[in-house]
């Protein structure tokens, strides 16, 4: 039903993670992005996922939450606002 072009998620990185990876935003095929932790492993950024917070569609999420086509997945390094 869905064409191959739409079966993607958007992956976003911020601050130190963005700089470590060298990019801030990419489209990933849903085939390679079944869960946040599956994406994290493929990113090979070296850090521990436990120190990173995950957001799916602007909401905090667990590392094993299943992803769906069209989702925006973000990896958030330790927050330092205010």
């Amino acid at each position: 039903m869905t064409g191959p072009d739409s079966a993607t998620i958007r992956v976003r990185l911020f601050a130190g993670l963005r700089e470590a990876a060298g990019w801030g935003e990419q489209e990933w095929s849903i085939e390679q992005a079944r869960s946040p932790e599956a994406v994290w492993q493929q990113l090979r950024l070296g850090g521990d996922l436990l120190t990173v917070r995950i957001a799916i569609n602007h909401t905090f999420a667990a590392a094993d939450q299943p992803l769906q086509a069209g989702d925006e997945l973000a990896f958030l390094p330790p927050i330092s606002g205010g």
């Binding site: 976003r12 911020f14 601050a15 130190g16 700089e19 120190t51 957001a55 602007h58 909401t59 973000a74 958030l76 390094p77 330790p78 927050i79 330092s80 606002g81 205010g82």
Partner: protein, 154 residues
């Protein structure tokens, strides 16, 4: 129960004057419902002149997650304001490049009683420091810019 709290939340890419903004906020308030909130608890945070390691700081750079940051601030402010039954809540937060001495955050709470106003102001400040996606990078005089991982001790 009273009507839901009035929230005003803004991310600002330019310098702001906390007292000017507070004046506008109070004015709206007294025009809308004169004399309701007898207590205002306010907090203003400014950029220090030193980086976390003590070196001279040229500027702080604040990255955020457009869309999520606003959404989170709104959720945190709604929850905190309702939990404490306060009347009005103002959050201003800088993004981008912020210079030493400039205000980076303003939290203002108006309530009928001092306890709820103070508790809400304090809890909301902690919440936004730890639960809203902002990241600080310290730019030093030597051109070195380092991301801060974690927050200043309370």
């Amino acid at each position: 129960m009273q009507h839901p709290p009035h929230l005003q939340i803004e991310l600002l890419s330019k310098r702001f004057e906390p007292l000017k903004r507070l004046e506008q906020w109070q004015q709206q308030h007294s025009n809308a419902e004169p004399g309701t909130a007898a207590a205002e608890a306010l907090f203003i945070g400014r950029v220090r002149a030193q980086a976390s390691d003590g070196a001279a700081l040229t500027a702080l750079e604040l990255e955020h997650y457009p869309g999520m940051t606003e959404r989170q601030l709104n959720a945190l402010a709604t929850a905190c304001s309702q939990r404490h039954g306060v009347e009005r809540c103002l959050i201003l937060h800088r993004i981008g490049r912020v210079l030493p001495g400039e205000a980076i955050v303003l939290v203002a709470i108006a309530a009928d009683r001092r306890g709820p106003a103070q508790r809400c102001c304090q809890e909301l400040l902690e919440a936004l420091k730890h639960e809203a996606p902002f990241w600080k990078r310290e730019w030093r005089a030597d051109g070195n810019g380092q991301w801060i991982t974690g927050n200043t001790p309370w």
